[in-house]
Each structure stands twice: as structure tokens, then as C-alpha cells.
């Protein structure tokens, strides 16, 4: 009996050792984000339910389209806005369906659909293993907020009202910066949330409708704002009531520099990206892509790429620009890969209306 007990204890000890070992985080070789490749989010046409996800495999240098449908046999949904990989899961924001679809980023299997507590979602930001934020425009497009999401329980647990059109977010230390892009209205603030308390601790005024943000090598935060166009009943621009697009530099939770574009444009300053070394900004404006050094005191006058793109991403693995081309919303678009000098390297066919990338 005792021998049997000893044997069991021994086995238990061994197995628990093995178990502990399995739980211990094996130090990974340094894998750069984007080394495996990236997902392309194809927004689809509004109301048509034809969004999709493509995957670019860096090893094979090939894009596979419709990976969600191929794996799960169902449509991704209406208007995929973004995708973020967090703690080994891919969170796809399907704005039109007011859902977040959670997939396994390796085999693309659908794991969970979150809709409770979600109104009009835009972006997902992973904060820790037990916390993430989801920006949300609110059902009316005017009551924007950040939803506090608990990835382990897979539930939205609370919300923080931020302003109109809560859009892209940036995590810096213990703080998350939220750009209030206006939604269906107008806003001009970037709100700062303390992630330990989920409370807003600062509000920074920028140009109208700040939409995306990046941090540079010196820790300054840059924000693109699209400005606000006001029209009269005949859809003529009322310049006196309108504001132009701008780029703001934020330091110490204060706007320290605002560079304003010189003309009103329908497709305004947005899609801000930062070079890997944190010295060069890339953004869209008036049908072109521009680049600007963080030390510049004036906006560039000549575009880097003179073509209208629907979305823009910067590949953290090699620093290339991935420009998303949506020529029509009735058929598939492309991604054009450029080097930092604006030279077109390669074009890949993707899905309908690509708007951005998520790096694996």
C-alpha cells in the first residue's frame, strides 16, 4: 500500500513538475511584429455584408483572400473596420454588424462573437492580459466611448465616455490616448485615460476631428485631424464655419505644435503612421500620401505618393508602406507596397475596400 502511495506521489510530483514547466513561459527568440506576415482588413461595401480578411504570408510572399470564410464557412459581416492581435487572439471589429469577432490568428477559426455592450465599434487596443479597450462611436455616432473589455471573461465590463467619434487609440505607459474623430458630429479633443483607474485624466484640444495618433522616438504624440467642413443647403463649403485639416504635436499632455494644411479638402488629413525609427510621419491628405520629419516646422508641399488610397499602414518588419486601394466598392481592391522613398515595390490583389492591416 505504502509502495503504491509512494509511486502515486512520485507520479504526481513528476506530472506537476511537467505541468509547471509547461506553464512557465519559455523565452521566445525575439520575433518582430509582422515577421510572419499581416492581415488585411477588407471593409466591404456598406450594407452589403461583404467584408473579408486577407492574409499576407511573408515566407511565401503571397496573399490568401477570404480566409475567414474559407475557414468558418460564414461571412465575416458588414463593414469590417479593423483587426488587432492581442494575447494570441485576433479581434476583428465588424462595425456594421456591431460585433467583435474573435479568431485564432494562426488557423483563423472563429472563437467568439461579442456583441453585448458594443454599439458602433471602431478599434481594439490590447492593454494587458486582463484588459483591453474598444473605441466606439455610440449608436447615434455622437456619444463616443471606450468600452473596457475583459479578455479572459470575454465581456465588456464598463464604458468610459470620451467624446464624439472615439476612434484610434494609443497606449503610452499607463495612459491611453483616444482621438475623438467627430463621428456623425464634430469634436476636437484627444482624451487621456489612466488604465489603472479607467478614468479620464486629461483632455487635449487639437484641430477639429482628430482621427489617428502615433508616438515618435522622443515620446511626443502626433495626431492627425481631418478638420470640419460645413456646407450650406446647396452643399457649398462655408469657409467661415469650416476648419482645415491639421497635424498636432502633443507633449506633456499639451498641444505644442499645430501645422494646418493650406486648403479645405474633402478627403482630409488622416491615416497617420510612424516610421520604425520614430522619426518620420506618413499621412493621407487630399488624395495623396505625404511624409514629414518630426523635426519639420512646416507641412510638406509635395506628396510622397500622388495617388488616392482608402487606408495606409506601415510594416513594422521592414518599414515599407502598405497603401490600401479601393477603386470601387463593388469589386476587390489591392494593396500597393511602397518603400519609404515612395517607390512602388509590388501590388497584391485583396478583398473589397481594404482599409488597413494587422501585423502578426
Amino acid at each position: 500500500m505504502i509502495r503504491v502511495f509512494k509511486k502515486i506521489s512520485f507520479l504526481l510530483i513528476i506530472s506537476s513538475l511537467l505541468f509547471l514547466q509547461a506553464c512557465e513561459k519559455t523565452p521566445d527568440p525575439v520575433i518582430k511584429t509582422g515577421e510572419a506576415g499581416f492581415f488585411i482588413i477588407n471593409e466591404g461595401a456598406f450594407g452589403k455584408g461583404n467584408s473579408s480578411i486577407s492574409f499576407y504570408d511573408r515566407k511565401t510572399d503571397e496573399v490568401t483572400n477570404d480566409i475567414f470564410f474559407k475557414k468558418n464557412g460564414s461571412q465575416l459581416g458588414d463593414q469590417a473596420q479593423s483587426m488587432t492581435i492581442h494575447e494570441g487572439k485576433g479581434y476583428i471589429i465588424v462595425q456594421g454588424d456591431k460585433k467583435v469577432k474573435v479568431i485564432d490568428p494562426t488557423d483563423f477559426t472563429l472563437k467568439k462573437v461579442i456583441s453585448s455592450g458594443i454599439e458602433n465599434p471602431r478599434y481594439y487596443l490590447g492593454i494587458s492580459a486582463s484588459k483591453a479597450y474598444i473605441s466606439d462611436w455610440g449608436a447615434d455616432g455622437l456619444t463616443g466611448s471606450v468600452k473596457v473589455y475583459e479578455p479572459i471573461r470575454q465581456e465588456v465590463i464598463s464604458k468610459i465616455s470620451t467624446g464624439k467619434g472615439a476612434n484610434k487609440m494609443l497606449l503610452v505607459g499607463n495612459f491611453v490616448y483616444v482621438a475623438n474623430s467627430g463621428g456623425f458630429g464634430k469634436d476636437s479633443t484627444v482624451k487621456v485615460i489612466d488604465i489603472t483607474t479607467d478614468k479620464i485624466v486629461a483632455s487635449i484640444t487639437t484641430g477639429n476631428n482628430p482621427n489617428s495618433l502615433q508616438i515618435d522616438k522622443d515620446g511626443n504624440i502626433w495626431v492627425t485631424s481631418s478638420g470640419a467642413n460645413e456646407y450650406d443647403a446647396d452643399f457649398n463649403l462655408v469657409e467661415a464655419k469650416s476648419t482645415k485639416g491639421s497635424i498636432s504635436k502633443i507633449s506633456g499632455n499639451k498641444e505644442v505644435l499645430r501645422l494646418t494644411v493650406d486648403k479645405f479638402a474633402f478627403s482630409n488629413v488622416s491615416n497617420l503612421n510612424m516610421s520604425v525609427d520614430g522619426t518620420t510621419l506618413y499621412y493621407s491628405y487630399d488624395g495623396s500620401i505625404y511624409s514629414m520629419n518630426i523635426s519639420a516646422t512646416a507641412l510638406p508641399t509635395l506628396p510622397l505618393i500622388a495617388k488616392d488610397y482608402y487606408g495606409l499602414a506601415l510594416d513594422p518588419f521592414n518599414g515599407n508602406l502598405i497603401a490600401c486601394d479601393a477603386p470601387t466598392f463593388t469589386s476587390a481592391g489591392n494593396i500597393d507596397v511602397y518603400d519609404t522613398t515612395g517607390k512602388l515595390l509590388k501590388t497584391y490583389a485583396v478583398g473589397i475596400a481594404p482599409n488597413g492591416c494587422s501585423f502578426k
Partner: protein, 648 residues
């Protein structure tokens, strides 16, 4: 970018008001005859490949809209947002705005979008429905590129008092009631019809966008319609006849969300319209003259409280039409006419502007029958919009008939469609109209045959018809984005070609009548030129929402007042994007329906009771992605008619 796009896109697909403009005649003819029939142009044309809804199917469909009827008959391709939702028809691979819908000869399509919402056409208001596929009806003018749908009212003098009431109810809170009071002697006819139609359409469906897949109930999907049709005819003398018609209808819809949407929609649409028509006919042995005037007012309100959106639009159309029909020639007949149409659109999306336009058209048709074997018909229409001439629309048809009744025909025509008010004047919210759009033009050719064999001894009849066509549409207008701003352009050339066949076999044994009928269409419609479009993906691809294969088959047995009808209609797989991506294709479906009908009669009363099983095999299907259709469902109906013939 998204904000503007959204507001704009919200505006477009659901703003489907119907206002009519018409350039066609409404002509009351055959004054010497008892029956008053509308729309004479059909008599100057040569019959080609037409789809005619038989009278029993029309009677059984009294509680349905034209959309429901076309869906079941499988005529053309019905594009719909679920049951009761906005529905349009597409024929021979053309667009939704390429079918002219005529009510007693008046074109009732909206000048805003160039469409007619067929869910707003109650079958109880039509005595006759004819679908003419193809462009040979180009004399009907604007929008008749793919075909025409003709809805006619017929009236009979000397019928006395007639009172009809029809009631029907069924699954998903469907309720319909129709009533008609008609009185006529040899000089007057007065008829008033009214209907109410209500449906909750809160059916269960399999929601495949949920994880795990679940059975959901469709929400915010109800509709409600109320309408009145008043008609009067007065035969002043044996040469003069006047008539007046008035159609009022109120249509309210809940606009459902996509089935994948996790939140219910709050959006509603309300369409209120009236269509008034007066006509005068003069008849002499050598010629007939007819004059019609119509006025149409249509208001549409679309509201989505979720995003504080309220969009109003209003259209008015005034049509005057005069034509003369020459009867003196022995082997020929000819018509010449003029049409003046004034139309106006008022909506916030046209800014301060309330665009209006004046359209004048001249038309003429000639038919020659040199002998019993040959027939030749030609027609043309020339239309000026605010003084600018559109391309002339001619058509020629030749027909040869064998002594045994089999006939062959060939037909060629040019058609056109003028840009809509939205194409020309829309501003704001991410969209920008294009004032320099060209008129779409098309050229079509078809050949066909009709075979008819009758055996009186064995009480049987066999009919077989077919057509092969080719149709190319130039300067096809499509909205596309440029630098985040959407605008319409003459973007492409579309070539559609296909085959259509239909057949019917009827057999009677004593009191038993049996029939089998079928029809099938093959449609290939591809983009052959994309002009300056940057996206060449769509070149040579099948147009989306255009199935290649469609058809239907119907078996009917009638005996001793009972009738049993079984009908199946098939809609092939259809692409929903310009790339023909199979992952987005809407799957094929075969839907079967069963009707049982029993006619009754007692003294002055006649009537019928009817039971209907729709989607009898409970097939899961979508009318388009995100818009599920109901599974098996039932309807029961009763018709009661009181008729006391006139003694005058």
C-alpha cells in the same frame, strides 16, 4: 470619410420613392365593344416573346403585390430586400432601372431613381399584367431597355351592380382585405376599389452570422399599405368616351437591419402617392383620337432615429399624351402621337434647387400585313429633354406565320434611358451628382418562334415559345467613389445575351382540366468595357444580382370548381460583387408553392375560398445577402362577389 459615406449611402439605396412620369398614352378604345381596354400601342406591335400571367394566377394572387407575383412566376429576376421590402425587376440582364412599368400606358417609374418599387403595386388593382421582355417595345420610351411591365385596368359596360370583397390572412401577421363596388350600365361605369395590407414578417430564420449559429426571429420587418382606386367611364355618344381614374396609396415599412447586425434597426420608410388620370377618346370609322392627362404626386419619408436622420423627398409629374390612330388602310394600321411630360423633384439632397424638366416626345408606329403569312411593324420615338434631343429609338419587327400556326419573328431596336434626378442633381453627404451625364443607349436584336398545336378531338393544346437575344447597353450609369466622393459616371458597356423558352400543355377530360407549364431563362450579362475606370477586375464578369439560370414550372388540375396548383420557381446562384467572388455569391434556391381553390356560386353570389402554402419544402434561402426569406408559411383567403346585372 466613413461618416460622409455612411450618411450618403443611407440616403441612396433606401430612397426608393415612386413617382411616375409617363410619356405613354393611356387610351380607351374599342368604343363599340363592351369591354373597355387600355393601352393601344400593343395592338400596333407584333406579339413577340411575352410572359402573360394567366387569369387564375392573377385571381389567386389578389392579396399579393406585383413583386410577390413575379417572384412566384419566376418572370425576369426580382431583386428584393426580403418579403415586403423594396423590390425591383430586372429583365435580360439589365439593371433595375431598365424596366419601364406602365399603368394603363402611363410610365410610373420614379424620375429620382428611375425605378418602380413593385412591392407597392397591389395585384388587386390590376385586371391584367403583361411582361414584355426585350427592347422591341422602345416606343414606350425611357427605360424600356430590358423590358416593360404593363398593368392594365379593364372595365365592362352594362354589368349592373357588382360588389366584391376579398379577405386573406396568414402566417407572420399577414392580413389583407380588398373591396370593390362597381356599377355600370351601357353609358356609365363607376368603380371604387380599396385595400388594406398588413404583415409583420417576423418569421424565424437560421442566422448563420451568429456563433454558434442560432434560430432568430426577423425584427423590425413589418409593412402596412392602404390604397384606393377609383375609376369612372362615361360614353357620351357612340363616338366620345371620357374616363377618369384616381389611385391613392399609403405605404409604410419598417426597414430591417441586415440579419448579421447584432442590433435591431429603427429605420422606417413611408411612401404616399396619388396618380390621377383623365382621358378622352374620339372614334370615327377612319381614325381614332385619344388624349390623356395624368398627374402624379409622390412623397417619401425615410427616417432613422438611431442616427437622427430624416430624409424627405417629393416628386410631381404631369403627363399629357395625344395620339391618332389611322384605321382606313386595309392591310395596315398606323399611329402617330405626341407626349409632353413635366417632372419636378424636391429633396434636401438637391439643395435649394427643385429641379424640373420638360420632356417632349414624338412617336409613331406602323404595322403592315400584306397577307396572312407576313407581318411587319416598325416604330420610332424621339424625345427632347429641355430641348436636347435624345438618340432616336426605332424598332422593327418582322413575323412569318406558317399555315399550321407556327410563327417566327425577328426584331431589332434601339432604346435609351435618361439620367435620373439623383444622377444629375444629388449633392451633399459624400455624393456629388454629375450634370454632364449622357443618356444610356442600347441596341438589341432578338429572334424567336411560337409553336401552337391544338387538337379539338382530344381536347388538348400544346404551346411552345422561345427567343434568343443580344442586347448591348452603352454609357451605363453607375456611382463610384473618387477621392472619397461618390459620383455617377457613364462607366461601362454591358453586353447581355441569352435564351428564353416557355411551354404549356393543356389537356381536358370531361370536367377535368389539367395543365403543365414551364419557363426558363439563361442570362449572360457581362461588362465589356469599363471606359476610364481604374478597376479592370470587373471586365467580362457577370453583373452582380443577375443569376444565369432561372425558371419555373407549374402544374394545375381543375375540376368541378376545385383547382389545385403546384408551382416551383428556381433562381440560380448569383454573384453579389463585381469580381464574381464565389464566397460572396448568393446561393441558388428552388421554392415551391401550393394553392387550393374552390369556386362557389349561389344566386347573384359567386365566390371562392383559397388556401396557399408558400415555400412548401421549407427551404432556407436569402433574397440577397443579409435578407433572409421565410420558411414554410400559409395563407387563407376568401372572395365573395355579388352581381346584379343592369336592366338599363
Amino acid at each position: 470619410m466613413i461618416t460622409q459615406l455612411k450618411t450618403f449611402v443611407f440616403g441612396v439605396p433606401f430612397l426608393l420613392p415612386i413617382i411616375s412620369y409617363g410619356q405613354q398614352k393611356d387610351s380607351v378604345r374599342l368604343l363599340q365593344e363592351v369591354m373597355v381596354e387600355q393601352s393601344r400601342l400593343g395592338n400596333i406591335a407584333i406579339s413577340r416573346y411575352t410572359l402573360k400571367v394567366d387569369s387564375l394566377s392573377l385571381r389567386l394572387s389578389f392579396a399579393n403585390s406585383l413583386a410577390d407575383l413575379l417572384r412566384k412566376q419566376g418572370f425576369g429576376h426580382l431583386r428584393a430586400y426580403g418579403p415586403g421590402g423594396v423590390a425591383t425587376a430586372s429583365f435580360r440582364g439589365t439593371g433595375s432601372s431598365h424596366t419601364a412599368v406602365l399603368w394603363n400606358g402611363v410610365n410610373i417609374s420614379s424620375p429620382l431613381l428611375g425605378l418602380t418599387d413593385l412591392s407597392q403595386v397591389p395585384m388587386s388593382f390590376a385586371d391584367d399584367a403583361v411582361v414584355q421582355a426585350g427592347g422591341a417595345s422602345s416606343i414606350y420610351g425611357n427605360g424600356s431597355i430590358g423590358g416593360t411591365i404593363q398593368l392594365n385596368n379593364k372595365a365592362r359596360f352594362g354589368d349592373g351592380l357588382k360588389i366584391v370583397t376579398q379577405l386573406s390572412g396568414g402566417s407572420f401577421g399577414t392580413y389583407f382585405q380588398n373591396g370593390e363596388i362597381k356599377w355600370s350600365n351601357k353609358k356609365f361605369i363607376t368603380s371604387t376599389k380599396a385595400f388594406v395590407s398588413v404583415a409583420n414578417n417576423d418569421f424565424e430564420f437560421i442566422n448563420r452570422s451568429n456563433f454558434p449559429v442560432s434560430v432568430d426571429k426577423r425584427t423590425h420587418n413589418a409593412m402596412q399599405q392602404v390604397g384606393v382606386l377609383q375609376q369612372n367611364y362615361w360614353k357620351i355618344s357612340h363616338q366620345h368616351l371620357i374616363n377618369a381614374k384616381f389611385w391613392y396609396q399609403d405605404n409604410e415599412y419598417q426597414v430591417p437591419a441586415l440579419s448579421s447586425d447584432s442590433k435591431p434597426s429603427l429605420a422606417n420608410q413611408k411612401d404616399v402617392f396619388y396618380r390621377a388620370l383623365v382621358g378622352w377618346n374620339f372614334d370615327s370609322p377612319n381614325f381614332e383620337v385619344s388624349y390623356q392627362a395624368a398627374f402624379i404626386n409622390h412623397e417619401l419619408l425615410y427616417a432613422d432615429p438611431a442616427i437622427n436622420l430624416v430624409s424627405k423627398s417629393n416628386f410631381r409629374t404631369a403627363i399629357q399624351n395625344a395620339e391618332i390612330n389611322f384605321l382606313a388602310m386595309k392591310k395596315a394600321s398606323a399611329t402617330a402621337g405626341i407626349n409632353y411630360t413635366w417632372e419636378e423633384g424636391i429633396t434636401d439632397n438637391f439643395g435649394q434647387l427643385a429641379p424640373m424638366r420638360n420632356r417632349i416626345a414624338l412617336f409613331s408606329a406602323y404595322k403592315w400585313q400584306p397577307n396572312v403569312a407576313w407581318e411587319l411593324a416598325s416604330s420610332f420615338r424621339e424625345e427632347w429633354v429641355d430641348g436636347n434631343a435624345n438618340p432616336i429609338a426605332p424598332a422593327i419587327t418582322v413575323k412569318y406565320k406558317l399555315p399550321n400556326g407556327t410563327s417566327f419573328y425577328g426584331s431589332t431596336s434601339n432604346n435609351y434611358r435618361i439620367p435620373t434626378f439623383n444622377d444629375l442633381f444629388w449633392i451633399g453627404a459624400g455624393g456629388q451628382s454629375n450634370p454632364v451625364l449622357k443618356t444610356e443607349t442600347s441596341h438589341s436584336t432578338e429572334i424567336g418562334f411560337a409553336f401552337l398545336a391544338k387538337s379539338i378531338s382530344s381536347n388538348s393544346k400544346l404551346e411552345f415559345k422561345g427567343a434568343v437575344y443580344t442586347n448591348s447597353v452603352n454609357d451605363w450609369i453607375q456611382w463610384s467613389p473618387n477621392n472619397a466622393l461618390w459620383s455617377p459616371k457613364n462607366l461601362k458597356k454591358v453586353w447581355s445575351r441569352g435564351v428564353e423558352v416557355q411551354g404549356q400543355l393543356q389537356q381536358s377530360f370531361n370536367e377535368i382540366n389539367a395543365s403543365f407549364s414551364f419557363q426558363y431563362t439563361f442570362t449572360k450579362a457581362t461588362n465589356e468595357d469599363l471606359y476610364n475606370s481604374v478597376n479592370s477586375n470587373e471586365l467580362h464578369k457577370q453583373l452582380f444580382y443577375t443569376p444565369m439560370h432561372e425558371g419555373s414550372a407549374t402544374v394545375r388540375v381543375s375540376a368541378y370548381g376545385y383547382s389545385f396548383t403546384f408551382n416551383s420557381s428556381y433562381t440560380g446562384s448569383q454573384f453579389t460583387d463585381g469580381d464574381n467572388n464565389i464566397f460572396f455569391a448568393n446561393k441558388e434556391y428552388l421554392i415551391s408553392n401550393v394553392w387550393l381553390n374552390k369556386t362557389l356560386s349561389f344566386h347573384h353570389f359567386t365566390g371562392s375560398v383559397m388556401a396557399e402554402v408558400n415555400n412548401a419544402f421549407n427551404i432556407e434561402y436569402l433574397s440577397r445577402p443579409g435578407y433572409p426569406m421565410p420558411g414554410i408559411n400559409y395563407k387563407f383567403g376568401i372572395t365573395l362577389q355579388f352581381n346584379k346585372p343592369s336592366k338599363i
